[in-house]
Amino acid sequence: MSGAGPTSFSPSFGGPRPILSTFEGPMGTPAKESSSTTKLFTSPLATGRTTTVEGIRDTSEAEEEMKDEDDSVFTYTLQDAPIAAGRLRDWQDRKRTLKFTLPPLYNSGIAWIDGKKVDGGDQVPIVPDEMKIFPAEIPDSAYSDEYTKFVVDSHELYRALSDADQIGEPMDPSENILPKYATTFLEILDAARRRIFDERLSEAYVVCHCLFASYFADPGIMRAEAVMDWLNQYDPRPTTEETRDIMTTPVPYDEPGFWELVQKLALRGLFFQCSNCLKEAGTPCADPESKRALQTATSILETAPKGAKAFEGHRQWRARAIAFGEQCTKLLDARLRRGLIALANILRGDSDTILALSESWQEGTAALFLFHDPAPSRLPEYYQMAVAEFPVDLTVISEAGCAAIIAGDIPKALSVAERLDVCVAAHIADFCDRQRMLDDFYNIETLDLPPFRDWLFMAHAINCCANPGTWFIGVAYLKDTEGTAGLSIIRESITHVYLDTEATLTELLDLCKELQFDTEARQIVMAWSKLQLSRNQVGSALEWLDSIGNSLEIRAITWQLLESNLLKGLTLPDAILQRYLVSPHLCPAMIREFIAPYATYFAFKGHLNEGDIVEAAQYLASLIQFGFLPGRFFGALLGELLPLIDRSQPRALPTTELIAIMNSLYQWEKDTRKYTEGIQFLAKSLSATREAAADMAEDDWRVEYGNVSAKEVIKLVRSKLVTEVSRAYLEGV
């Protein structure tokens, strides 16, 4: 252990301990309370064991214990919360309870107040709040517009990476594309956290940055540098103010905190800033040795190895630092000597000095990594040395995550990241998976569980599916997961996507085709056809039903068309239906077959309107005699016959047709069920006339017979039919 170095720091540095304090009582930063975070687990990190599935299990088990003992989960208050603060007991005394239900797809449900004793009536007077409903979101699941942008950007990067990366093939380190994409992801995340100002997202950024610095550093820089860069962003020291306070004085060297500043800058790898401090401090160099020592110090600082070649040059540079330290022992000025020796001890990677000057396990680890030996394999060792001095504060989730990363326990780090932001956790898991960092995690213990990366992506995808606008992104992720769970989730949610436009419908059906979701495709088409019907787009509805061969539904719709027209009078068909009615050859075969009765009725009405009575009567007669005509329509169609068999008109039907119609009437009356249904429907039709007389077309037969009962209408028809037959006989036709 080096005896050199400062024995105390100025208060402005926030109280790093003197070297001696290394051997004193409890150490480490006090546990911080996080307003929106959760205590995680009793960490095994200090042991440095490589936890795989057990680590994940530990987390949930510890959480279980936590929820039993502590129940410290995030709580928010409903907007316009109906229970006054501290008046829960009063509210309960009113025999009220709270109920809540989630919607089929979205993450925002509805809460409401109900009475507890529904069976026996409720005597407690109702207050206005009890007749309200209260929207409530699943915590951490609803996307703001800004967060949606982050999700979209992340997904685009993921797609680009997937296209560029060949999973499973060994990668030449020099051709490793992951660092480039990792840097981009970090930039996307950084931009998002700056836009969103969310504490958890910021913590997720810290974890992500730590992971990428530790394992996905740009090949152009040394990993130790990357880790130090992470620390300097995460916890910048010394602060600009601390530096300015000293360096703007007339003689900075004379300031009590000068050497602490120099050493902190060196410890943080801020070599040029450190060198500039030394140059501009007004250091009194009474003798040539002192001057030479200062020059050597600045030279060493300014030639610190950086970049791709840094690792190779480190040993040589460290030797210079060691020699420099020995050179400093001969200096006459005691203050200068102590300060420069401490600096030299940092630069040569003296662990005692570094840990003594460090304020946290992160700083100690990063500094040891940078100065002692920047071999990546030694990082966990440095971590162990640092946490022996500065325990990890596990109450800060990001700190727990970073500790797991530095310790090399990636699955645990990912599970911690998942508590912060599942989108971030999924994407960094993807990077780890592509770099084969999770291979050891997949073993006999995980046989019954999905790959952890996939599970994270599923969790993220479920959130995407449950937020408007990101459903297709969720699906894209789910398609990339192993096993059947991802597809099952798509299958579960696909029919819940609202069919706002035909473009959405087409996209969904394309997806169904790709994934062979035949049942769901049918359900979606059925739902779309119902929507089209409600929009009076009957032709479109029929076309879509035809596309799935749903003859049952087509038949039902076409009969409903006839029914509607018999009740409400002729209504104009939509463009598609009109085309099919006018040009039957354009009509698909199945629709043509089932639409025939309605088309016949439509033609009848058309000819009637044009005054072509004979043609109209023939269409109506053929419809009345149609063998599969539902009995309920028979009476109403007979009523339509009344104006056509009036003696005031020329004869419209030949005798054979008249007799055939009479025969059909006889058969209909014999079938009690059909007759009853027909009479009921006719009565309903007549009733509709009376209710909406003003809207009725002038030539509607019911205008004249609106006040006649259904049975009398049939009696009248029979009478007129007989008369028409007699007339035909008399006219000799």
Partner: protein, 383 residues
Amino acid sequence: MNAIATGHEDLIHDIAYDHYGRLLATCSSDQFIKLFTRVVPSAEWTLLSSFKAHDANIFSLSFAPPQYGLLLASCSEDQTVRVHSSIDNGHTFAKIATLSDSGGPVHQVAFAKFGGHGLKLACIGADGVVRVYHAADPADLRQWHLAFEKVVDKDGLLSTGVAARDLQGDFAVDWCPSGTVRASWFTYELGIDMDDVELPRVDRLTIAELAVEQFVASSMSKVVVFRKRLNGGIYEYEPTEELPGHTDIVRDVAWASNASVGGRYELIATACKDGWVRIFKLTTRRMGGVPATEYRNGGAGTVSGNSEIGADEDDLGYEVELLDQFDHHKSEVWKVSWNFSGTVLSSSGDDGRVRFWRAAYTGKFVGLGVASAEQGSNDEMDD
């Protein structure tokens, strides 16, 4: 979002979403049903329609799947279930069917959430009888026939099947959302391990699906799974498993989607007057005629199919395991609800709080957060 005044003139007893979550129906003791629509993009709810639907308190609502049009079922203290249809996107509703077989107030109604073989509707009332109605012709939803009825359990019921007046009864029913039982059933049916079968992933998913209709019903403290099984050449519903351990009246049951676990098992949550939220895991197994295993001290454990329910040697059934249970409400729990993937469960009750539970990697459930109806709970750690 702010609270929404519904315009009801009495307590609200239930709400239901349509299949897309774009429509919301509420029902009340004022005998009215009100329909709200979600305004895009503000996501706020605005009143669309309101109609008197029953002649007494309305207890429960359910929307049918959209392939049957906009169809809403309601049930009431007037002992009826009514089916209402809208052909103008919810602006008006017309009653198209009244089902009045119940011998008492009808507490809960639920449309089957899957399509195929016509539309089905389950309900349960104070007579303790669960009934399933079937509209065989989707083109004529005015016609329903009673396809099944059975007393869930006589515990707490008079011999007539009506709940004793001194007991505050509760009854609930919920369908298995997928209408299919997946890979595990296939494995048992054919005696093979799916993992040994080399098939494209989509094929594996498709062939692994065997249509099985099943629902869970509760009557007082009994919770029973009913499943359609082949019996004497015809498929019919049978009580198959009991979810044990409830020490008081079960207020609500909710069957989760099994999608997120790839159909490996089913999850059913219950809300109970004894203060516990329970999550049961149902894993497919051969019943093997094993008698019911004693429930272990009310804690997490495994029970096999209830022998009373009559398991045969070769029947497939569920091994029922209490996966998790929570008493954080410290008071009666009244409602449980799953998200679409079965990964988040909500529970609510007398403590004026909605508690959310999420599935962790291991499949166990952990606390996710709390929404409080009591003012002044923002950003606090809930104790």
